[in-house]
């Protein structure tokens, strides 16, 4: 009799691969081959995790059809099983997996569609947080405003794609016009995905707003984010772009570094 740890480890490998003879020897037949009994467990694991991925990636599933999706999901689950028991958090690396998955290499836009669906899923389940009053930024001394960093709402994320992933997504919603087509030459998208009230929304940002917000989301100071916005669009109205960010209600904290230590303080 192996230790419980050895037994569970072998059982886990059997669910994601093939059972080892030593494990089969531990299972009572009870009128059915031990391998068949293990398959009952394996089917449940693969079916429920495939369902989880299908629920998170319905547009990808529609684009490749359910059978191919099941095939890809099966490979993905065996190579990347969940690391956490909260299944709404499962599948973050599915887009990267699809990008490297031989049989769908010709669908170049597919990984970015998956990234959009992951951002939507992430926004739906992100922690709650209160937006701060934008007027608080006005209270920061003028000589320190450039070094301020902002935290954005946990649901917010950004996606830049050379493909029109927003149009592809909309054309594949249940209520979309079934005859609508999307030209892959329609241009790329720079999107902000977030939760608004309790619903998830996404929209296109202009180049300057996208540069400003992604820089702030990375933790850059306001000054560096403004430089990024200016690089993206030299004609940007910085005051207006910043005002728009503050009035969107996605800033959840302002951090003013101390003038003495240059470390984060007064947050």
């Amino acid at each position: 009799m192996p230790s419980l740890r050895e037994l569970e480890s072998s059982f886990g490998r059997a669910l994601l691969g093939e059972p080892e003879a030593a494990l089969l020897d531990l299972i009572a037949a009870d009128g059915l081959a031990p391998a068949a009994r293990l398959r009952i467990y394996r089917n449940h694991v693969l079916v429920t995790l495939t369902d989880t991925l299908m629920a998170t990636y319905p547009v990808v599933c529609r684009l490749v059809d359910e059978r191919f999706f099941g095939y890809a999901a099966d490979q993905y689950i065996r190579a990347h099983p969940p690391a956490v028991p909260c299944l709404v958090e499962y599948g973050d690396s599915f887009a990267a997996f699809l990008a490297a998955f031989g049989p769908c290499q010709h669908l170049e836009y597919l990984p970015d569609v998956a990234r959009l669906e992951w951002a939507i899923n992430r926004a739906l389940h992100a922690d709650d947080a209160e937006a701060i009053d934008a007027a608080r930024l006005g209270g920061v001394p003028a000589d320190r405003i450039g070094s301020v960093t902002l935290s954005l709402h946990p649901s917010v994320s950004f996606l830049s794609s050379p493909w029109p992933v927003d149009r592809i997504w909309r054309a594949n919603q249940p209520d979309a016009d079934p005859d609508a087509t999307v030209s892959l030459d329609a241009g790329g998208a720079q999107l902000e995905i977030r939760r608004l009230s309790e619903d998830v929304v996404f929209r296109s940002l202009d180049a300057a707003a996208y540069a400003l917000r992604t820089a702030l989301a990375r933790g850059d100071s306001l000054e560096r984010a403004a430089e990024a916005a200016h690089s993206a669009d030299s004609g940007v109205d910085l005051a207006q772009t910043l005002q728009q960010l503050l009035s969107d209600g996605i800033v959840t904290s302002i951090c003013v570094p101390s003038p003495f230590t240059h470390a984060a303080g007064q947050c």
Binding site: M1, L26, I27, L32, A33, P85, C86
Partner: protein, 291 residues
């Protein structure tokens, strides 16, 4: 090991339902008369609309948190981040019950999303006792541990499942969540008598009962029952439930339905059947006292 005295909330003794996302809007709008609602805490550990709806419902219904992710029978290090998230949710929602399973689901860093079987021996018992105790300490409350449905047995498994659960309850002070459908499914799959199983279980430790539907599947020419929670409760399970209530007395009872989810009305109808069993039990008890 010394059993601790944890706070045991006075739970409802009526029939409740498992709350599933497609039913939430209708339940919010119509507030059907059920004794409690049960959810998987793993689905509410972030924020957003699911948690907001649950916050609204908890004003009108006692809640029960039925966990599937702690892997109490596992040997990977106990997931303290998950336990901390569960503790935060327990604090926020103040549920009447917190429950988990006599099973494991995490090995070598992988969460396998299934309630996987243990050999019932001393090593498994020590593992379960240690992890149930740590969970109860972290939550500062008693948890209920549920019997899983089983599709295989290990050759080396010298302790019976009800005796294992009884000893777990005795050593840790935890309660038992008795899934009557799982008893039926497991016993049928191994040609055992479910009445013998129930007789071996310490009924005073049972804090909640689960009922659900199961399917009958042909596996290589042999019929295997699988608790897919995808249909009405089967008649033999209702009979077993009635026998259980005779021994246990009225106790909170939950109807679960997860696959092939029906209209809410069907689920409420199943809960109403359970409620009638509970009511009949109470009136018989009253008659016995009067006599």
């Amino acid at each position: 090991m010394v059993a601790h005295d944890y706070r045991v909330p006075a739970g409802p003794t009526g029939a409740g339902i498992g709350l599933r996302t497609p039913h939430v809007a209708e339940i919010l709008a119509t507030r059907p008369a059920v004794a409690f609602l049960e959810v998987h805490p793993e689905n509410y550990m972030g924020g957003g609309q699911a948690l907001a709806a649950l916050e609204r419902l908890r004003c009108d219904y006692p809640l029960s948190l039925h966990g599937i992710g702690l892997s109490l029978g596992g040997l990977d290090v106990l997931d303290t981040r998950h336990l901390a998230r569960l503790a935060r949710l327990v604090e926020r929602l103040d549920p009447v019950f917190v429950s988990e399973h006599l099973a494991w689901s995490v090995v070598d860093g992988a969460y396998l999303n299934h309630l996987l079987p243990l050999p019932y021996d001393d090593e498994s018992l020590d593992t379960m006792c240690s992890r149930v105790s740590r969970t109860q300490e972290a939550l500062d409350r008693k948890i209920l541990v549920e019997n899983p449905s089983r599709y295989l047995r290990f050759r080396h498994s010298p302790i019976s499942e009800p005796a294992f659960l009884g000893e777990l309850a005795r050593r840790t002070g935890c309660g038992i969540l008795l899934d009557v459908n799982n008893v039926y499914v497991s016993c049928r799959n191994f040609e055992e008598d479910p009445h013998v199983y129930l007789h071996a279980l310490p009924m005073d430790a049972v804090g909640e009962i689960h009922l659900a539907g199961h399917s009958m599947n042909d596996v290589d020419g042999r019929t295997v029952l699988i608790d897919d929670h995808g249909s009405r409760v089967a008649e033999p399970v209702w009979q077993l439930y009635a026998r259980t209530l005779e021994r246990r007395g009225p106790v909170a009872t939950l109807v679960e339905w997860d696959t092939n989810l029906p209209d809410l009305a069907v689920l409420l109808d199943e809960a109403a059947t359970a409620q009638r069993c509970l009511d009949a039990m109470r009136s018989r008890a009253r008659d016995a006292v009067a006599a």
